[in-house]
Amino acid sequence: MEPLPSQLYVFAWLSPFIGSALNLALNPVKGRAKAYSSVAFISASAILSSLLALDVWLNGRVVSFEYVWVKCLNVSFGFYGDALSSLMAVVVSWLSLLIAIYSIKYMEGDPGQTRYWTFFTFFVGSMLLLVLADNLVAMFVGWEGTGLASYALIGHWYTDEEDKWVGDPGRKALGIPMYFTPSHGGLRALVFTRIGDVGFLVGIAVIHMLLGTTSLVALESKAGVLMLSLFRSGILLPFLIVFSLGAMAKSAQFPFHEWLVTAMTGPTSVSALIHAATMVKAGVYFMLRMAPIIFLGAEVLRATNPAVFSLVAEYFEIVALIGGLTAFILGTMAIVARELKLILAYSTASQLGYMFLAVGAGALTGEVGLSVFVGFSHLMSHAIFKAALFLVAGAVIHSVHSRFIDDMGGLGKPMKISFASMLLAALSLSGLPPFMGFWTKDAIIDVAFEAHAYLPFVLGVVTVLITAFYSLRMVFRVFLFKPSHHEHEVHEAHPLMWVPYFTLAVACLALGLAWPFYEADLSRGLTTLTLGLKEWVMPTPNYTLVGTSVALVAFGIGIAYYLYQAKKVLPFDSVKTSPTLMKLHTFLYDRWFINSIYYLVIVKGGHLIASAISKYFDKLIVDNLYHRAIPFVFGKAADLLFRYPERAIDLFYHRVMVAFFSILSNGFRRIQTGILNHYMLLMLIGFATIYVVLMLLG
């Protein structure tokens, strides 16, 4: 392929930002102008990213370009296109484009058009900057940009109408409300992720301090130096964890997953954007980007400093465990969720857990290339099916005017395309062959087993069953089950909406069917053309595991079919009768009480500390000390000074002195007789006195 001039690819991420600024300028223009311009600018990104990816993949080379942004910090803005970043950019930009097209219709008539499209394009631009950045600081700029955009979009409907909430209005767990308004959801997203971001920022600072650069390429070449200096400072493991905190928070890993759940208050198109293309994938991408570099740094020191290698292995064990836990915990919550988008949100966090598991386990096999190949494959397949699922959910919620699946059912008849799309995507999510989700998830299970990461492996396997069940439960409850009262008023979504999700749903199947044909190329590209990697690796398929996992999927689907389609019963009706089961249900429904614990400890605790300090320190001590005690002391001192010395001085000057001078003046007055002879006499006496005095002194 004939390559384009490299500078041009900068526009892959710059173009949505230009679109964003333009949307602000277009504020007074009514109608679809902003939507069309946004679609146009994102299309430009999609095309440029694709050309970049073709350039990288077909020509087998890394394409990069940099402009100096801040010289003294070695920060440039440009792009770094290797196999990973270019393919990631393709996934991000094309999914964003489809979601933007869907939004044209979905957000039509919304009064906040300018805000929506400005932040939508800003979101896409930030994500692409993050993906294509060639240094950590520019990456961080994009990273924070996605945080801002998600905050604004999650809180898009900031007037907090009840139909935009997440959770059952009025429900409380441990006394903490379990329903969230859009403005609350936005706040949570920002605060939760920023706590992790401080870790990322501190990590960048440490790297810049030790290496004098934050460029990714330099990071690769100096990985060993970095690891060794960290090890010698004794902070290698703490550093790695702190550095990854941003990724964990962004990708909603346990225990930072809470923000993602309540991010559902945004428009559904935004949920699709956050869950499929941008934001939560940033954390996984960061791990994919950094894992090879961290691993490489440890490996070059393996012979001389085996301790470094074992600390790094410990780090990857932690990553795998966090991933496994997240996959399992969030999966269990999805089983009982009653809100369509909430099921999908839990599922996203759970699937992100698989990706973290892939990164951790891949490195633990000793072939970090597996982390990148397996992690990225699942990221891609998840992006596609989750985008489709959310977009269908948006159309369904739009047409039944309810977010609860209890108000749905039987929608398969009026919404055939939506039904087909959701079914295909859900089957991919549940991991049924030959959908793409099957291949990518199976690879993770394989790798986890190969890495001997048994706890995460078991958690991953159990989650396969859970995933298959909740995915199909959702499909049956929405489209089949008992027809709801909405059945007759509902009709299929507008083509601008269904074309994007139907395309994605078909892609899940098509990419799955074609998987065996391109799997090897994908893996070769990703593991040889990505920063920090050189050797081509493939996971070894384990047929026992494949069989087990397929059986689990079938079993999960079977239960869902049996309950919701064959029997058409609500298991909750029987759960209600058993106190033990009900307790379990509440535990899952209230998200393992994690949210309540956070609010009790951090939010309420923080508020308690703040009010206590304000009341007992700031008001009582500081205010009283400076504005009462010190003025009082000075006042008293002044009072005393006034009473004693000042009175005496007063007395001295105003009474004693006055009296003295009046006596004196009286005396003088007496000698001033006005007779010249008297004056002459006085003068003679005066001279005589002076003469006598001088004589005596002399």
């Binding site: 924070e144 403005s183 600072a205 923080g606 400076y626």
Partner: protein, 513 residues
């Protein structure tokens, strides 16, 4: 060093002084808008001069006025600018110029309110006399080469700002104005005592105006017994001005009860000067002795960041919340300083700028609500205001982004630099401080994010209370000044290189960092 042919740098103080007196003399013969135009133009003139000088000569070297004034026993007074004062000069001149435009709609409202209370406050001419004297004196603070020169300008900021609070403030304004005067004056005097003890031994110049060099280590000539006393007098004196934890008592009152345009200058611009001078004077006089003070300053900074954040979380009054936020932000500045390296120091200077833009926007937003909602300041009575005042809400968001370091605002760079400096400092002390300082930073930055965006939610998002259904969009004359500063903050995020590169260079060459 570049020596100018004309005293252009001094003119950035003199021209506004002249404008201020013209305003005063013309009194009611000029309309409020004409007053604002005159004074804003005089301050914008300074902005233009600083910008033009930096573009013409670059910021790589010191730019100085031709005259050096010899003052018997006090040394030499001269006026100059370098890359380390440029960001602050740019922000003060821009913020003061913009806020004087904002003063017109705001003070119209304030005069009406005062009249309703039966008070006849001094009129427009006096307001602008005091306003511009105050503003130009802040610029003067940064131009000098001599500690006494700085002290004189510092006192010149105090008197007009004291009178502005006393004449036009809210609540118990006279008492608060006096409180402000006394406490910050105590700070200034402590500084002066330190400066005198150095000055009578080694001279009062901290910059040699003939060469443009910083007189590094001038205070080291003092006998060891007085050296530390003098240094700590200067540090504590300036920290009272900065209002860090423990000596912040005057700030929440003064900044909350000052008329809002004055709050918008006091809060970001004036108090930050104290932090800048800790670098420009105290660090320069005692470059080695101050190293012993830095661990204490570092912890003090973290405590201030966290303390201010906690206090901001529980405030109900919008302006008082912003005042506590300023205390927390001063902690950021102090943290940059305490790091004692070029990253932290440049972070401090850039954060001065980011905070100047952000906090001025926020005070103006709070003021806009006061004007549009009949004096409403109580956050608990607000909510959903973005639906009625969308631009005010959007601009307030940009204001908060500045102080929490979210792109595309300058705050991102200053936050990174401060974190960068702080990490290097604590790791150099001992790598085992890595985790404690990380935890300190997480709590501090987390709290800043929390109070900032919680306030956005409480004020601008959520349900609109019944009583506010009648609210209307803010006047353009209130929004435009905020918009200008927002644009400046975003522009300086993108164009940070030309400001930061020479700054970093100067910190290395002039300050030896």
């Amino acid at each position: 060093m570049i020596v100018l042919n004309y005293p252009l740098i001094l003119s950035t103080v003199v021209v506004p002084y002249v404008a201020a007196f013209v305003s005063w003399v013309s009194g009611n013969r000029l309309s409020p808008k004409a007053h604002a135009a005159l004074n804003s133009a005089s301050l914008a003139y300074g902005f233009a001069v600083f910008l033009a000088l930096s573009c013409t000569y670059g910021l790589g070297q010191v730019i100085r006025d031709p005259e050096i004034y010899f003052i018997p026993t006090l040394g030499r007074f001269s006026f100059l600018m370098d890359a380390s004062t440029f960001p602050a000069l740019l922000s003060i001149s821009l913020v003061t110029a913009v806020v004087s435009l904002y003063s017109v709609p705001y003070m119209e409202h304030r005069f009406e309110e005062l009249e309703k209370d039966g008070i006849k406050a001094p009129s427009w001419g006096s307001y602008f006399l005091l306003y511009t004297l105050f503003s130009a004196s802040m610029i003067g603070c940064l131009l000098g080469t001599n500690t006494i020169e700085f002290y004189i300008f510092l006192e010149l900021t105090l008197i007009p700002s004291f009178l502005l609070i006393a004449f036009y403030g809210y609540g118990d304004r006279v008492r608060i104005a006096i409180m402000y005067l006394i406490w910050t004056h105590v700070g200034a005097v402590l500084f002066l005592l330190g400066a005198l003890s150095v000055g009578f031994v080694s001279g009062f110049d901290f910059i040699n105006p003939s060469t443009g060099e910083m007189l590094l280590g001038l205070g080291d000539g003092l006998p060891a017994s007085t050296l530390y006393v003098a240094m700590w007098l200067m540090i504590v004196g300036l920290l009272v001005k900065v209002a860090v934890f423990g000596v912040h008592m005057w700030l929440p009152y003064a900044h909350a009860e000052a008329p809002t345009p004055v709050s918008a200058l006091l809060s970001p611009c004036l108090i930050g000067i104290g932090a800048l001078m800790l670098l420009r004077i105290v660090y320069v006089l005692f470059p080695s002795a101050i190293q012993t003070a830095s661990p204490l300053l570092f912890v003090w900074a973290l405590i201030t960041m966290i303390y201010g954040g906690f206090m901001a979380l529980v405030q109900k009054d919008f302006k008082r919340l912003l005042a506590y936020s300023s205390i927390s932000q001063m902690g950021y500045l102090l943290l940059g300083l305490a790091s004692m390296n070029a990253f932290g120091m440049s972070g401090m200077i850039l954060h001065y700028m980011a905070h100047a833009f952000g906090k001025a926007i926020l005070f103006m937003a709070a003021g806009t609500l006061i004007v549009m909602l009949h004096g409403l300041r109580d956050i608990t009575k607000m909510g959903g205001l973005s639906s009625k005042l969308p631009y005010t809400g959007g601009l307030a968001l940009i204001g908060f982004m500045h102080i929490t370091g979210i792109p595309p605002t300058l705050g991102l760079w200053s936050e990174y630099l401060i974190v960068r400096g702080a990490i290097e400092y604590s790791m150099k002390l001992s790598p085992s401080y890595f985790i404690p300082s990380f935890i300190g930073l997480v709590v501090a930055i987390g709290l800043s994010t929390a109070y900032a965006f919680l306030t956005m939610k409480k004020v601008f998002y959520g349900r609109l209370p019944e009583g506010l259904k009648g609210a209307v969009k803010a006047k353009r004359s209130l929004l435009l000044p905020m918009g200008l500063l927002a644009a400046a903050g975003i522009l300086s995020f993108i164009l940070v290189g030309p400001i930061l590169d020479p700054l970093m260079e100067v910190l290395k060459t002039l300050y030896g960092l």
